[in-house]
Symmetry: C2
Subunit: 291 residues, 2 copies
């Protein structure tokens, strides 16, 4: 990661105090931080959006195509990334050359297109203006993933094997409900052959998680998947109920599955790369990066 | 509608008191009521399902293919219809000949496949084991739609024009989140050319409704749609926020749009047919059936 990073708000409006605190964390890492995200800016009629679609798309496009920026860092999720995907000039984005892209939750919609379109690994990390960015453990996990990535990422304290085995391939995924929103949409690539899928979500009841997984399964989305790594399911009801859904929907696919690996909305989250070649060992459980 | 109807539970388990009361309503219409739905039956690990997928699929298949049944009537929504779509023998279902199919909410997933597969108009009505089935107005709307359909269906007291104009075509739709779950799935037909889309939902925040509509729009689902008739958005946040989402997402499509027509989860709901040829007059607003 280089010197200058630009913080943007392509989805929901970032709360001012959390944004200020998150920018300080980035500065504490020695980064030259610019902030295009503006807590005061809202869509004129849809208050959950940090400006009009045209404004948010232009903010991302400008930040990404600025050769002075080594990274573009998302401030907030919520909802809205989906609305700008068709407004971005992906040819220009790809031509802007490699840089780091970070974010999670609603930003999954951007990861799903930006990574493949630009041929890059992107980083599923805490959002700058979020509770996670105030946690020392999640901060340190993010800092290490960006600056000194170790060859093997170990699952967190709750990680456990649902189906054992190993698999190797590129990581794809992010927040489940946003992955679902790619189905049936032209121009969003299916998971590459042998993909290792990372999935997590927040505030989705077990039956809704079942609904999302059933939709993905029926669409054939899992057909090319070689392994599944599940993150946290924060505020998604009783964990044992979510576990039962995972057993029922994913336990019989004949591929390794890990639960509660440690990424996602829950406390002390790991940062994980999307589009990275990895070996999943579901027994250990670990993700080892293939250089 | 003929003499004998069979009540099934292809999704969630019906609460016993509501089911008993609903069966009484059907009997009060002079129907010979059989009930395959069993409030005591649950999936062994997923309590939101009224039995295993195989059991629920077999119950529907048997009821539909029984030549003694003039109608198959769904007891309850919740979640689960999506899970049985690929377990049904659609060739046998189509061969069973015309009969009446009723239900709503999660049952939208069945309407979307059963109607086109069997070449039938299906009925988006209250579920037998639901609060709506206990309301005299919703009951009477359902009874009239099934037994003495009038040539023109008038919008309810809250119906209003969002975009004026007229359009003619077959009705499609139902509950928004279930329509979304058809995207990217082989074998689910896109809306026919000139479709008049009916949409409603329950417990989805305005940003989630935006998410669903944006997904449908990006997938091209609206490309063949000639008119939109919106129902109720019960427990979906402030109605004016939902209205703003509709203006933003649907107001610029260049097709007539009606809000709060009267069908959906809210009190006193209208029953509406899916797959029926209609003329929408968004100014009146009315749906007139083309015989």
């Amino acid at each position: 990661m280089g010197d200058r990073v630009e913080v943007i708000a392509p989805a929901g409006p970032p709360p001012a105090p959390q944004l200020a605190a998150g920018l300080d964390v980035l500065r504490s890492w020695g980064l030259d931080v610019r902030c295009a995200a503006d807590p005061e800016r809202h869509h004129p009629t849809l208050p959950y959006l940090a400006g009009t679609d045209a404004e948010r798309a232009a903010q991302l496009q400008k930040a990404w195509c600025d050769p002075g920026n080594a990274a573009v860092v998302c401030a907030r999720g919520g909802y809205g990334a989906l609305r700008i995907l068709d407004l971005l000039d992906w040819t220009a984005m790809a031509a802007a050359g490699p840089k780091v892209f970070t974010g999670s939750s609603d930003i999954t919609a951007l990861h799903a297109v930006l990574g493949p379109a630009c041929g890059l690994v992107t980083m599923f990390t805490p959002l700058v203006a979020s509770d996670a960015m105030a946690e020392p453990v999640a901060q340190e996990n993010m800092r290490r993933m960006l600056f000194e990535r170790e060859p093997t990422l170990h699952g967190g304290p709750s990680a456990r094997t649902l189906v054992g085995g190993t698999a190797a391939g590129p990581t794809v995924g992010g927040t489940l409900s946003l992955i679902v929103s790619t189905l049936g949409v032209a121009g969003v690539p299916a998971p590459p052959d042998g993909s290792i899928v990372l999935l997590e979500d927040i505030t989705e009841a077990p039956y809704r998680i079942d609904h999302f997984l059933t939709h993905l399964l029926r669409s054939g989305w899992f057909d090319t998947v070689a392994g599944v790594v599940l993150g946290s399911w924060l505020k998604c009801g009783k964990p044992e109920r979510v576990h039962d859904v995972m057993v029922d929907r994913l336990g019989g696919l004949g591929i390794p599955v890990v639960e509660e690996f440690g990424f996602g909305h829950a406390e002390g989250q790991l940062s994980v790369p999307l589009g990275a070649s990895v070996v999943l060992d579901a027994d250990t459980p670990t993700l080892t990066f293939v250089r």
